[in-house]
Every structure is written in structure tokens, then in C-alpha cells.
Symmetry: D2
Subunit: 354 residues, 4 copies
């Protein structure tokens, strides 16, 4: 479903890319917090299309309205619903796509699942645009975590063979930079990333990437064994973001190259506290937080909509056909997804903290 | 929780490594299927400790008893409970561990979460032994999928720099080999894997690995958008297996190195059916199966229990201390985990098929 | 939560009585059904406040807008969100209530739960007004059940000592009357009900009542044992309607006065089909539908808001105080609740049918 | 499912009346409580069959074994599984029932649902015997509530036209009596109840009854609006008990006979605390506890298995047939169900308290 029920919170997302509006509802938020709208606006801006030359030229105002769950700017404890109107829609671009599924998009499997009744304009309910309400709701959850002194940050870790400094190696200053809204830890890396993206765009192509997200100053003892583990919970939430194809914790797949003696996070004392020397496990052991920063990585595939011609099959005629996608698309999903990843992680962690 | 509720099925795992027994309950299975106990036995044997020189010398009979949900060997539709008695337990090995948490184990965060009341003998409820009932239940679910002509197979894809042939490249013959219970597609690779494992064991060390699992002959149109996506569902289930630190679909993290024009799975006609030329997305688009094989990879960390001395902190004295773990442990989790990964995947997919 | 996740469907309700709008989201509806808006309008009208002299004079247009999940009036399979704007709000009426909780309302326990941050204007999120989106969504579910030849009807069964004919005794003609929107089976009874209500209103008082709901032409074999039983599922949904204090199935509490020999529903053959002679169990045995009409009864308490003076305690001063509620209120909840009860039952049954 | 997932707890029940054993698993219990086995034994004895002349002569030892989740008698926080072996089974009594469904039993709808594959011996998974593990688990939850000074008590409120004093009118002394294990508040009433039961048994018949359950010294502010309401939560759990056909809170269906001015629970000050003068709402307003005792009533139907001949239909021959049930059955469900009702209520309330 487009709805997920956690322990204390539930989240439901609705709307289609070219419908009257999109939105989301979160239930279970605690009462009494005064929203900092500037912080929400900032996250919305980070996700906003058309914010710079690097993303889709679709220019949405993304003006959100919180229609329930607050009074005079303070959370009431009732379900909070955020609504975002759609405006800059060019549905005619999609008229032809009804018959020819775009490669690596949801078009074909959705056609099977919904017997062709789904709204395919702009990807319909499968559009990346649906992450806008997640961003708003997630940003609110980040504020609530900040009251517990927990910060959620993220950055682009890798595109092609260029790699940013990992959160597993970051110091407080590095994290502060990300908390201020930077896309990478290293300034030199961001330039190289932007160049790759600009090139891809010029080539009518797109790029995949790895994002890394950190829950900083995490409390120990949250989560649980087996299906109550934090890894599974966060992974399920993160896989709810369109375009995600991999989620790993700590050094993740690199564990396959290490022996236990090198991989294990030995305990030591730091400032009188029990800590680990390394954080290869990304702050989670046995499904439970161990007090280190939770660090996970997310693989985003390249935007499947590219302007280059691609082979597909016409569902009506049953013949192979060359498809050229017009529309307006991002050369990279991952860049705009950063506040979405942070937001969805914040929802999952807040659910454990409450 | 150690319980998960899916759409039609629910699964609950109970027991501790050194308690009287461990077990699991699955609800929602359809009535009428006659169990093939030989197939279950075969999967249990694949997971069994002490089966060869490569795994822990703990020698459990692993004799399972199905105490409910069947009558005369046929599923009744009532909850199916499987119980496995513990016998070969050496609890005295663990007396010292009460105070000194083993690195990269659940000991320390569980101590925090349960205020020290958890049963730590053999890892208690966090032990890999808890995967035995998952294997039995998963093996039953695999049988039910086979009635729908769907096969679930797996293999060790990678240890250190040695890599088996991927399921994304496998033909029918390769898959048959895995269905017959082989640990790898390529015979030459398995020898190299066994050598690495034997060496690690000799060095009192352990190894991580990547498993790859395939849902062969999958039906299109299952799953759904956002939090109903198959990736998130399977990931949450798979992260329920102790030791898992990464889950990716199709080429997963390798998407970060590709442009869209190379990564997209273009459509073509094969035998009059709409198929994709490549399967980089691992059979899932927009959270929905597209009819290709579902292929996902699972990163297992090295067994954290190693015989080499490691640094830890004594929870009672508050001092750093060198820990030497006695016990009996696997040099590698991933090898015995193959039927567990298959089983848990089968549970998830069966839930969608029902 | 104000959200409930069933097997295939999830339902989330949001909004406050005096906020900008209220609404609801249902996920999991099947694609392809063309909505009959006249039928929805009819149910909305049955629930509408101010429709006749018998209910609250608050005059809401109750114009609903379905903002997602449909395209050209046809269900797409995506989450369906309905929004209803609030317009005729007199918030000043509630200024005093912030400090003095209304007897038998949610005011006091909500004050405790939300630390006083909840929106109390018009009852906020606890208002009966929140049943408007349930009515719209439930009406859609009734349409989907009608495609399976299942009808959902209801009526006022009892107010004080006046009782309508029970659905357990109704013939096809009686049921047709209710399906056409009548409030009772017997025409004579409705007049007496209206008189009781008019009197209560004149006395600045209110009335409780019992509603009875029937799922007509129900399929056998749906539901399940223990916590999967239809009774528990329907009861939980129905208790989600504000003002409900009792739910019974078949003859319910009257079972306490009967012996088994009189209470048991013996089997017989009717038109070659296995049927029961009586339907004391209301169509459900062992939690599973037996093919008879499902019949359940719902006890609504009297509208707690009455114009008569009542004793309460001022939360600020801590002193007992006499409260006179101004506002505009229904003399009876149950009458307007009929389409809500039908709707919520339809949601529960549809979830089983899908 | 025979599994239910609450906010913090999950409960799964398994087993069949004539299988090797029955049992249950609860997850999410807090660690650290030392079990008082005498209290559990007492509740098991209250539910035990054959305890006196009034119930079924089936004589089960009902010796339970807690196989996980405790160490040295103390809760560890891991899933707690309780297993009860079946011993005194007379399966031959049921050989004929395979073809002729017993009136008002689950036999016929279960036959439809499971295509005849369900285990019908002794009612299989639908047997009242499945409430034995609920009793053990519920008794543990009652202990945990007692640590919070909350007591759960129950009694038989009504059989035919004989009625015990309601918990809504009880003083501390009355409640103490019930806490000590009495079946009624008034000693005179219990004699009359026993006489009715003895008569029914002599007549080869059975009796329905109303139980009343109280959560004494309940905290205010627990529960929530709409589908998070305590009434719906408790009702769903209580309907999981076989034989329940009605659940009402406070005066429940009697609200239909009252006007608001008589029904409303006005506030007053008692010992400086805000309390209600009456408790017609049974301690719950708007789905949230208001600090008064939670009081609810449960209608149990008469035991459907009676020795008197009854009409049924032979599923094989398709002919009407007279059925005489041999077996051994209770003349009344409600009496033995008291600790079950208390236990299931304790599970629900504990889930809110945690």
C-alpha cells in the first residue's frame, strides 16, 4: 500500500503527478511542538525541481499547505495532513506513453497490475513527485528528533568513480556542513559531481548515485531482534522512495571482502563511555542501536526517463517500437532525493524514540 | 518484534539458543497441500550446523516437529507451529560473556535494551540458531510456490575477490544446479570458496560474503507503489536474518556507476511475450514485479565470534579488557544461510501470490 | 491511530471540525470501477447536518472532492483521497470550553493525552464531522460490493421503548425499503422515532439509540478463527465511529437469556442450498461467514452536547462549575450515523472479498 | 489470522484440540519481571475443564510449559512461548461430525473456507481449548499491570433473568472479592447461577451469559481517536474468544433508553481529583481513558454442543439429518471464560501502558 503503519506513527501518501494535488498524512505525532516553517521550507527547496540547471525544468511552486494536525503553528497530536497543489503539468507530453511503456519505469508492471486503468500521466502515483509530501512530513520529524538532540544528515557519496568522504569517517565539522544543507562533505567533490551531471544532461542521458545518510547522536537500545531490527525497518521505508535499488548499513557489501578480525567493531572507552573503535556496523548490532551514529547507504538508479531513443514494445500493436521520451526530466534522482532520504529515516527513528 | 504481519501471512519466531527449544509459527497458509518432508529435510540439512568441516562443531540434530496446522501430513489452514529441541548446548562457555560484550554482537545493545535481563547464553534470542524454524517454514512456502511453478534458488555470489556467475546471467541449466542444492553455479568457484573458509578457520578468523537469491518464473503485476513495493517487503524480511548488513536488487549499488542509457532494461519480444533485454532492475519496477526473475543480493558480515583475542569493555568493572571467545562458531554465516534466505524470500512472495 | 490497516485496504482520516478541511484516504481499492456519484451524493445527504428539523442547524455544504485515485470518474487503483472543506464554523462558541470539559465528551481525556495542545473547537479531531469522509469512502466500497451482489443496509432499531422490525426477521421487500434510504422498516415506527427526537430537542436534551446493519447476500467462508474473526474486525471498525458504546452480532446480548436448544441455528435445505433455519448468530460462526446475512447492532449514546446546564470542573481554577453549552448540536447521533455504519461495514467486508 | 499485532505486543495462538499440543507466543513483553507462578496457576485452574460438576468432564491436566522468554523465572524481553500438551482426547467421538456440521459451530463455514481440509476433531483450531494459552499469557500481563497498580477483575453479570451487582456500582470490597477469584459479587447470586447451570446440564442443554470485566485504577489519557480508541481495541481482542457475540462499554445498549441529561457523566471533585459522578461510559470517552474504571460486558452464547438431538444437513449425502452430539461439553462457556476475558483485556491494556 501507499500507507505504512509503524509502532506509533502511520504514514499515507496520495496523489498523482498530474492530478489536482498530492499529499500525505502522518498520524501519531506528539502534541506541543511549534513548527519551524523555515526549516521545512529549506528542505522543500532542496527537493524542489528546477532549483538549478541540474534538475528537471518542470517548475513547481511546491507550496505546501498543512490542513490538519496543527493549531496556531503548534502540533495538536491529531493526524497531520499536508497538501501540495499541482500546477505546471504538461499532460499532452504523455499521450503517447499510454501504449508504449518506458524502459525501467513502472509503466509496464503497473499496466499489468491495474489492467490499464492507472493514471500514467507523469508517472501518476509512481512519480518521484510523490516524495514532496514525504519531504515536508520528514522535515517535521527531523525537528522532533532535534529536540532529542538527534540530527539527520545526508550527502551524495558516489557517482561513477568519484567518491565523497564517508560519514563513517566524518568529524563534527563535516557533519555540521551537511546539516547546513551542503550536498557533499568535500567541496572539491561537489564540483566533479556537478560536472558529471551537466555532461549527462548534455548527452540526453542520466546518472545513478549512492547517497549516504547518518542519524547523528543516536541513542542506544532502540530496535529489536529479527523483524524488529532497525535495519529492516529503515530499509522498508527507504525502499518506498522511487528509484532506490539498494540499501546497506555501515560498510554493507564491503563486509564480503573482510575477515572478522578486521571487520569487528571493538569496544573501547571514550570520555568514560563505552564506544566502538570503528563503526563498520553503522550503529546497529542485532537490530538494535548501539549508540554510534547510524549510517546507511542508498543506491539510486539513473533516472529512467532519458531523451535518447530506446527500444520498447507497443502494448496495442504488440510490435517492437523505438521510443523517444519528450517530457522534462532530472538527469539524476539522487541529488534531489537527499531531503527525502533524511525525512523517511527521521520518520522511522522518531517512531522508535516516541 | 520477532513477529511480522504481512498481508495474508504472519510469522513469529521464538526461543533462545540455550533454552529448551526454539520454534516458529506461521498463520495464513492455505489448506490442502500435502507436505513433502524430504524437501524440508533437505533444506534443514543445508542449514544444519556441523554438517561438514566448514561450520560450527556444535552438533544439533535439528529434528523439527510440526505440532499444529497439519493433519496426516496435509496443511489444514490453521497456524503451523514448528518446534526444534535444543540439545547440544554448552552454556558454561558463556558464563564470562555476561560482563564482557563480544564485539559486533548484539550483546551490548541488548544489555542496554533489556537492562541486562536478556538470556545471553549462545546469543539467546539473537542467535543464528533462530533461523532453523525459518528454514522449515520457508521450505514449506517454497513448496507452495512450486505449485505455482515458481522456484526460489540461491548461491554464494562473492567472498573476498572471488565471484560466482550471477543469477542475472544464468541459464536454465545453471538454475537447475542451484535448485538441486549446490552452493555455487560454477564448480571451480566453490573450491576456491571452501579454501578461503578453511583458511579463515585455521586462522581463528571468519569471513563475510554476498549471497544472491532468485525468484524464478515470477508472475508480473505483484507488489505496489511506495511502501507496498516488493523491494521494501523483501528487504525487511531479509534484514530479519542475523548478520545481514546489505540488500540490493538487480545490479543494486552498481547502478551508481552507470548512465541511464546503459542501465535501462529495454523491452523486446521473446516467444511473443513482452520481456526485457537485460534485468538490471532484478525483476521489479516501481515496486511491482515485471515478469523477469526477481534477483537480489544479501551482504552477510563475517561471523563476529572469532577465537582471536579482541578488545572489549567489562560492563561491571568499567575497564577495557581483552576477550577470548571460546564457544564453537562458524567461520562463515553466509554458507548455512542460503536456505534461510530462500525461505524468507519464499514467505514474502507467497504472501503476494495468495 | 486515526488510521487502520486491514488486509488489502488501509483507511486514514484527518482534519478537525473547525480546520480548513477534513478528509480521508483509502488505499488498496481495485482499479477499473466507474464511480456512481449519485449514489455517493445520496449517502452524503443522509449524513448531512441540517437536512431536516431533526438535526444540528450547522449547515455545511459537505461538498466533497476526490483529489486522487480516480481518472475520468474511474478508480485507478491508487490511493483515493476525499477532501471536504469546512465552511459554516462558529469557533467563538467554543472559546469557553477550553477550560471546562463537556461531560461525556472527549474534552477531558484528550486534554490529558495531548497536554492541552489539541484543537478543541467543535470537538476538533474527535468531532462527529469526521464521519463525513468515512461516508464518502464507505459509499464507494458499497458500490464495489454491489458488483459482487452484496448489499449493505441499516436502520434505527430502537429508541427508548420503541422498536423497529429486526433485520433478522426482514424479507426481501423490507430490505429493499432500507436500500432505498428509509430510516426504518416500519413506517409507523419512524413517526414515533421522529416524535421522540422532536421532544428531546424541545427539551434541550438528546437521545441514544440502537442501529442495526445488515450485509445482505453475504458469501460464506470469509473471515477466520480467533483474531481474524469477522466480528472482531467489524467491531473495531464500528467502534471507530464517535458515540458508539456497544456492538453485538445476531441476537447478541439476548443470548444470555436463552438455552442452547433455543439459540442454536439448525441447518436445513432451502432451494437445494444449506441454510440455517434461524440467524441468531447474525451470519457468523467461529469468526467466519456462513452465508446468511450478517446482522449486527450498534448502540449509540445520546449526543453528549445538550443545552441543559450540567456540572463540570474548571481545569484552570480547579473548581466545580455549571456549564451551559451553546453551539449547535444534534438531538440524536444515530439517525445521521446510518450511512456511516453502512460505510464502515462495507470497508471491512470489501477487504475480505478482495 | 490467529495472530494479532498491537502497538508494542503481538500475540499468536496455535494448535488444535486433538493435536499434540496447543500454545501461544507473545512478543514485546518488558524484561525484568519475576513471574509469580502461583497466580498463573490460579487463573489456569479457574479456566480448567472438569474442575467441578459444572463443566465438561474432559479432564486435562493443563500443565503449561513456558519454553522461551524467561530465564530463572524472570522475563528476558524475548518472545514468550507457552505450550500445553493435549492428553485426554477422544477423537473417535468426532468421526461422524466430519460430514454433519454441528449447528452454531464453526464446522460448516470452516468446511467452506478450508475446502474440508481443516482438522475438525474437537473443533480443531476453533476449540475453546485454545483459550488456555491466552489465559497463561493474559495472567502474566495482569501481573505486569499490577506493578502499575492496575487490577483486572471479572464476574458473571447475568444468566437468564438473574443478575449480579454491576462493577459500575461496586465498591472496593466488592472488587477485592472478585480479585480473590469469586465468580460473582453477590454470594446469593452465585448459588442461583449454579442451579441454572446444573439444571441445563441435566436437561442436556446449555446456557448463555453476560460477563462483566473491569480494569480497576486505570490511568487517564490512554487510547486515541477513531480507530485508535480503546473500545475498538478491546472489542477486537475480546471477539477473539470463541463464543463471544456482543461487547459493550459502560451501560452500552442501555444508552438507547436514556436521554443525554440522564446518561452524561458529569464531572465533580473527589479528594481533590477530577472524577465523574457516574461511569455510564465505562471509563472511556472519545476512545481515551478518563481515569475511571474501564468496565465492559461480554455476551457469550450458549455452548453450541448440546446432547439434545438437532437438525443438520449431511454434507456428503446432501440430505437433512438429525444429529446427536456425543463428546463431553460444558453447559456454559462464560464461567470458565472469566480468566480468559481478564487475560485478553490485560493484554490490550498492557500494550497501551508500555
Amino acid at each position: 500500500m501507499s500507507s505504512i503503519t509503524l509502532k506509533k506513527l502511520s504514514l499515507t501518501i496520495f496523489g498523482e503527478s498530474h492530478g489536482p494535488c498530492i499529499g500525505g498524512v502522518i498520524t501519531g505525532l506528539p502534541a506541543g511542538h511549534r513548527l519551524d516553517f523555515e526549516k521545512i521550507d529549506k528542505d522543500v527547496l532542496r527537493r524542489k525541481p528546477g532549483k538549478d540547471g541540474l534538475s528537471t525544468p518542470r517548475n513547481e511552486e511546491d507550496k505546501y499547505e498543512i490542513v490538519s494536525g496543527i493549531k496556531d503553528g503548534v502540533l495538536t497530536g491529531a493526524p497531520l495532513c499536508v497538501i501540495i497543489k499541482n500546477s505546471d503539468t504538461h499532460s499532452s507530453d504523455y499521450s503517447k506513453l499510454a501504449d508504449i511503456p518506458r524502459p525501467s519505469h513502472s509503466d509496464y508492471p503497473a499496466y499489468i497490475k491495474y489492467n490499464g486503468f492507472n493514471d500514467i500521466r507523469g508517472g501518476g502515483h509512481f512519480s518521484g513527485r510523490l516524495t514532496a509530501p514525504i519531504t515536508v512530513i520528514g522535515s517535521i520529524c527531523k525537528q522532533l528528533l532535534e529536540k532529542e538532540e538527534i540530527k539527520v544528515v545526508s550527502h551524495i557519496l558516489r557517482i561513477k568513480d568519484i567518491t565523497d568522504k564517508s560519514l563513517l569517517d566524518c568529524n563534527g565539522e563535516d557533519i555540521k556542513k551537511l546539516a547546513d544543507g551542503k550536498d557533499t562533505v568535500c567541496d572539491s567533490v561537489v564540483e566533479n559531481f556537478y560536472k558529471l551531471i551537466t555532461d549527462a544532461k548534455a548527452n540526453k542521458d542520466s546518472l545513478g548515485a549512492v547517497c549516504e545518510c547518518g542519524i547523528i547522536n543516536m541513542k542506544p537500545g532502540l530496535g529489536g531482534p529479527l523483524f524488529d531490527g532497525l535495519e529492516g525497518k529503515l530499509a522498508q521505508l527507504v525502499y518506498g522512495i522511487p528509484g532506490v535499488k539498494g540499501v546497506e548499513f555501515g560498510i554493507g557489501f564491503d563486509f564480503a571482502g573482510l575477515s572478522g578480525s578486521l571487520a569487528n567493531d571493538c569496544y573501547c572507552l571514550k570520555d568514560g563511555k563505552i564506544r566502538t573503535k570503528t563503526n563498520n556496523n553503522g550503529g546497529i548490532l542485532g537490530g538494535i542501536s548501539n549508540g554510534e551514529n547510524i549510517v546507511f547507504r542508498v543506491a539510486f538508479k539513473p533516472t529512467p526517463s532519458i531523451a535518447l531513443p530506446q527500444q520498447s514494445v507497443n502494448l496495442k500493436t504488440g510490435c517492437e517500437e523505438i521510443l523517444e521520451i519528450k517530457g522534462r526530466h532530472d538527469p539524476i534522482i539522487a541529488l534531489r532525493a537527499l531531503p527525502v532520504v533524511e525525512g523517511i529515516a527521521a520518520i522511522g527513528i522518531l517512531d522508535e524514540i516516541l
